[in-house]
């Protein structure tokens, strides 16, 4: 197991190197000039050129890439062109809201989606199944921002149960923290619930056809025990996989959700950086998201051994 983990971590290195090269190159060829944005409308071309030189943006591609890579290897993601703050500091400022949103969404979604999928498979063809799948289609079809506005209207403006926007750090209390995140988590969770519920249903339908399920039923095992202890455990591998893949969905969805609910997270940091062409921030955030994604995949692979004893590394 340990050897597997070490091997996987080592294979992460070329993946991260490729991501770094790709992102850096993409931004290099992308149109736009942060120096022009900084200089403003009154600036002369000479002013823009001088700002560009001071920022080091006039140097050759290879020099810039080598310098950036060298710094990244030392754990330094560079400094934001606009704020002059270290990218690591900007990420540190924003990581708690995004992490909170994702964890809460994950908990909320899995708690709802897995029982929903199991129930739908168990009662396949019934109104429960159809209702669950209609909900899944709704979750997939309705844009995140529409759901966000509707929920904000009903639960923040009309019922006044929760705030419309903002984020309260966990250090200021669990309830204020939770209160701010309820709507964003539900908003972001809908598509995730839809995804997990559909996969759970499909996998469970397959498992429920297996001989051992029939045998268990013949032996008088209770429905609940049969569904959640026997069948679900054997259906768990694809479900865990889709939960992991869904992390990417969450990262993408967080960008919109954070904007709609004015949450100061990494999604908004990324969008702001892209619009301003704040290259070091974009590179840093994308690199970090890639690392997270690679690590999530590793964790999923390790989780397989917990849900299926036949899997050994």
């Amino acid at each position: 197991m340990l050897a597997f983990v070490v091997r996987r971590i080592i294979t992460t290195i070329p993946v991260m190197a490729f991501v770094a090269l790709f992102v850096f190159s993409l931004l290099y060829i992308a149109p736009g000039d942060p120096a022009a944005i900084i200089a403003g409308d009154q600036a002369s071309p000479a002013d823009v050129e001088r700002i560009r030189a001071n920022l080091g943006l006039d140097r050759p591609y290879l020099v810039r890439f080598a310098e950036w890579s060298f710094r990244v290897l030392q754990g330094d993601l560079g400094t934001s062109i606009f704020t002059s703050l270290p990218v690591t500091q900007l990420i540190a400022q924003r990581i708690e809201p995004t992490l909170s949103l994702m964890v809460l969404t994950l908990i909320f979604s899995v708690t709802i989606a897995v029982p929903m999928g199991v129930l739908a498979a168990w009662k396949a063809g019934s109104w429960i199944d159809r209702g669950a799948m209609a909900f899944a289609v709704f979750g997939f079809s309705v844009p995140v921002f529409v759901v966000g506005y509707l929920l904000a209207y009903v639960f923040a403006l009309k019922l006044d149960w929760v705030p419309v926007q903002g984020y309260t750090p966990l250090s200021q209390g669990v309830w204020p923290w939770f209160r701010n995140l309820i709507l964003p988590s539900v908003t972001l969770g809908l598509v995730y619930i839809a995804l997990i519920a559909r996969i759970t249903r499909a996998t469970m339908l397959e498992v429920l056809q297996q001989d051992y399920v029939r045998t268990a039923q013949a032996k008088g095992v209770g429905q609940r025990e049969m569904l959640f202890l026997h069948a679900l455990k054997n259906a768990a591998v694809p479900i865990v996989t889709i939960v992991g893949i869904g992390i990417a969905l969450l990262i993408g969805g967080a960008v919109v959700t954070e904007s709609v609910f004015a949450i100061p997270g990494l999604g908004r940091l990324t969008v702001d950086a892209i619009l301003r062409r704040d290259y070091p921030v974009i590179q840093g955030v994308v690199l970090m998201f890639s690392l997270v994604y690679v690590l999530v995949n590793l964790i999923i692979d390790l989780t397989y051994t917990l849900v299926d004893p036949r899997i050994r590394y």
Binding site: I38, D160, P163, Q165
Partner: protein
């Protein structure tokens, strides 16, 4: 249903709920009356008002850094940090004296050395500063409170240059900070203004916090824009950045924020109908919509083609696209200057009132236009530029022009418009933008109206008559001479179509009714405002 309509509906539903009497959420109940929660027009992405000249940076900087003079609502420069000034009879030497007892936020006294170094940094970046620099003999500190600026030729607009609200303003910083290269960002935010910047609470893109500076010495005169006493009645001002307009509207309705600087026009009816919200014009100087044509390349290097486009244009089409049906929010203008200001003129502006497609087609035929493509670069991420771009595309097609519509983002437009190459080789034929009305009151900070060829703003118009009148305005000795120069300047700019103004439009600001003292101005005037 498009996104714009949806936003309106969602926020509208919020207003309906609010009329039913919404209780204040716990978040607002706990907020102190000494804290103002303000939603600015944009993100405060950097905080060096000389290095970065975006208006949002200027607005935040006005809280932290003070200026030597301040412009008032009559466009007159008034003393602010300065106690007195004296100009020699030949107009070549200016001697200034600071008010005594002024302090920076770190407790150090403000001295003339700080002023001199700050002016050196400012004058390297500001158009008026650069003019003064070009005729400067010497800028030196005489004693702790006095400094002298001697020139090679008179500069009658000296006080205006030091008082103006156009970015970059001549903010005074400690000498050690002002020594930073003007093309490199400062990293210490110490000023002598009424508020201190709380750096450790700054989350760019989300929040910026300012705290009252206890040692600030406001002037005794009544506050009037940048002039007079800047009495801060809040202990703390929080700028809360909200990229989503519908969220900002909902937060204001819910009492989670106190003041929204620039509500989306579509959402204003909802805010107006809310019992706890006041809505009024924000900046009375508004904005001038514009598109610029590239004078270096066909087809717009041909004056008749430019005149054809201006002849066909109907400003109402543009203004309705930007502000909707609210007639209070826009005015037609047969001018390049801000309507309603003392020097406004429509001299020579008849062609801007024509709106004749037939005449435009005739002019186009006379120009020998042969269907050369017009590369129209339009930023889609800015509501105003997108709206104007759509109208322009239809306008050009209606007079028979061949439009190559390039939909992109503002970051790309910002870089592409600097390209002087032909449109087919990475350049451009036209792009849309807007100018703050405050910049278009007179030629002092109006870069866009300049027509000095290679040195001119993007589009690079070369019209000596315009430049002559700009010089005449700067040298004018009284209001009558200024007005005469402005009239001739407008005529020359219109005749040669330096660029095309698409109309004058205003925007609203909205605030909770428990906030009092909110006034209109070319920037959010936070001093004198309080909250119950």
């Amino acid at each position: 249903m498009d996104r714009r309509t949806f936003l309106k509906s969602a926020a509208g539903a919020g207003a309906l709920a609010a009329t039913g009497g919404l209780a204040m959420p716990a978040l607002a109940q706990g907020a102190s009356a000494k804290t103002l929660r303000f939603v600015p027009q944009a993100n405060l992405a950097n905080f060096d008002p000389i290095w970065g000249t975006q208006y949002v940076v200027r607005n935040a900087a006005l809280l932290v850094w003070d200026t030597l003079y301040g412009i008032d609502s009559k466009f007159q420069p008034q003393r602010q940090m300065v106690e007195s000034e004296e100009v020699s009879a030949d107009g070549l030497t200016w001697t200034f004296k600071l008010r005594s007892g002024l302090k920076f936020h770190d407790g150090a006294p403000v001295t003339s050395k700080d002023v001199v170094q700050s002016l050196i940094r400012w004058s390297a970046r500001d158009p008026m500063g650069l003019m003064i620099r070009a005729i400067q003999n010497e800028l030196v500190a005489v004693d702790d409170l006095t400094w002298k600026w001697s020139l090679k030729q008179p500069y009658p607009k000296m006080l205006l240059a030091l008082a103006k609200n156009n970015a970059p303003c001549s903010f005074i910083m400690p000498e050690r900070i002002a020594k930073t290269d003007p093309f490199t960002q400062i990293t210490e935010y110490i000023g002598s203004g009424p508020m201190k910047f709380v750096r450790n609470e700054w989350v760019p893109g989300a929040k910026a916090v300012f705290e009252k500076f206890a040692d600030y010495k406001p002037r005794s005169e009544k506050a009037d824009w940048l002039a007079g006493g800047k009495n801060m009645l809040f202990d703390r001002v929080e700028w809360i950045i909200m990229p989503d307009a519908a969220t900002a509207a909902a937060a204001l309705q819910n009492g989670e924020v106190d003041w929204w600087e620039t509500p989306l026009a579509d959402l204003v009816p909802i805010l107006k109908s809310h019992k706890d919200i006041s809505v009024d014009i924000g900046d009375p100087l508004g904005n001038i919509g514009a598109f610029r044509m590239n004078h270096l390349h066909p087809p717009f290097n041909n004056l008749k083609v430019r005149q054809a486009v201006m002849t066909a244009l109907n400003q109402e089409d543009y203004m309705r696209a930007i502000v909707g049906d609210d007639d209070k929010l826009w005015k037609p203008m047969a001018s390049f200057f801000t309507p309603g200001t003392p020097l406004y003129t429509e001299e020579g502006g008849e062609i801007m009132k024509k709106k004749s497609v037939a005449d435009a087609k005739k002019l186009l035929a006379e120009a020998g236009y042969k269907g050369e493509p017009v590369t129209c670069v339009v930023a889609q991420d800015m509501a105003a530029t997108k709206s104007m771009g759509d109208v322009t595309a239809e306008l050009l097609k209606s007079i028979g022009m061949n439009v190559d519509f390039v939909a992109t983002d503002w970051g790309t437009v910002g870089a592409r418009r600097a390209q002087k190459t032909a449109p087919g080789q990475g350049g451009w034929s036209m792009f849309h933008t807007w100018h703050a009305g405050a910049d278009c009151v007179n030629p002092s900070s109006y870069t866009a109206v300049r027509a000095n060829g290679e040195k001119a703003w993007f589009g690079w118009p070369d019209v000596p008559a315009v430049e002559t009148e700009v010089t005449n305005w700067f040298n004018a000795k009284d209001m009558a001479e200024e007005k005469a120069a402005m009239g001739r300047l407008n005529k020359a700019a219109v005749e040669n179509v330096v660029y095309v103004p698409t109309g004058f439009y205003l925007g609203y600001q909205a605030w909770r009714k428990n906030v009092s003292g909110v006034t209109s101005g070319p920037f959010p005037v936070l001093w004198g405002v309080s909250k119950a």
